[in-house]
């Protein structure tokens, strides 16, 4: 500790080490998580077979969700997306993302939105007629420091019509 540079270096190193410990402790903040969501398909706008031979459908969705309980003081944002999940003879699981959003604050985490699908719902093939599928709301809780956690709510019972419209 005999010189300016020696003391400054020692202080900085110790300060950063303590900062690392603080961040580690903060990353263990967990909340009692009780998220809820509901999705309604209001309308099937159109349902066609594309020139390449793949089915495509356009839906109007009504998404209601309350993800407020996921937020802690260590949450930077929550990334939420809705995926349609179904099985075909070619793939045991197809997941098509229909909509997503970044929720930066707790206040915005309780929402109701009615939109047509943000991303196109196109199948790998022409399997969508009379297809039963689940709509799953996935979310990723992105922390300010620490591990990111992801979870989902699966809502089943949706299906597409027999014929193209």
């Amino acid at each position: 500790m005999h010189s300016f540079g020696y003391r400054a270096n020692s202080l900085l190193t110790f300060a950063v080490t303590i900062l690392a410990f603080m961040c580690a402790i903060v990353s263990f903040s967990f909340s009692n998580q009780t998220p809820s969501a509901q999705i309604q398909i209001l309308n099937i706008n159109w349902f066609q077979k594309q020139p390449h031979g793949n089915d495509e459908v356009s839906l109007t969705l009504n998404i209601t969700a309350d993800l407020q309980s996921l937020f802690t003081w260590n949450t930077k944002q929550v990334f939420a997306f809705v995926a349609a999940e179904y099985k075909t003879s070619k793939n045991s699981l197809n997941q098509v993302s229909l909509w997503d959003a970044i929720i930066p604050e707790k206040e915005h985490a309780k929402f109701w939105i009615q939109i047509s699908n943000k991303y196109r719902f196109i199948d790998q093939g022409y399997n969508l007629r009379r297809k039963d599928f689940n709509l799953t709301l996935h979310w990723h809780v992105m922390p300010k420091t620490g591990k990111m956690f992801a979870d989902k709510i699966v809502m089943s019972g949706y299906s597409l019509p027999d014929a193209y419209r």
């Binding site: 005999h2 300016f4 202080l11 110790f14 303590i18 603080m22 420091t145």
Partner: protein, 91 residues
């Protein structure tokens, strides 16, 4: 700084940084604000730097007694027969 001052500086630095960390964490946790915690901790690091890094007078309360140059001349070092090595004095 003298030896006692260096020890004091090191201890002060460690204690002040730990206190800053604890205060910052408690303040951040109770206000649920990560930002508050970081700002208070940064402030604490700044204050600790101001207190412990510069060469303040209170770190030099037990100054070392170096030998006066006029005294040193009265007691010359013994000459070595074969080769003479000159020792440079410490600052």
């Amino acid at each position: 700084m003298d030896w006692q001052g260096q020890k004091l500086a090191e201890q002060l630095m460690q204690i002040l940084l730990l206190i800053a960390a604890v205060v910052a964490f408690v303040a951040g946790y109770t206000t649920a604000s990560f930002r508050t915690m970081m700002l208070i901790y940064a402030g604490g690091v700044g204050v600790t730097t101001l207190i412990t890094v510069p060469n303040w007078p209170f770190f030099n309360r037990h100054p070392l007694k170096w030998l006066d140059p006029s005294e040193a001349e009265k007691h010359p070092k013994p000459e070595v027969a074969v080769s003479s090595k000159k020792k440079s004095s410490k600052k």
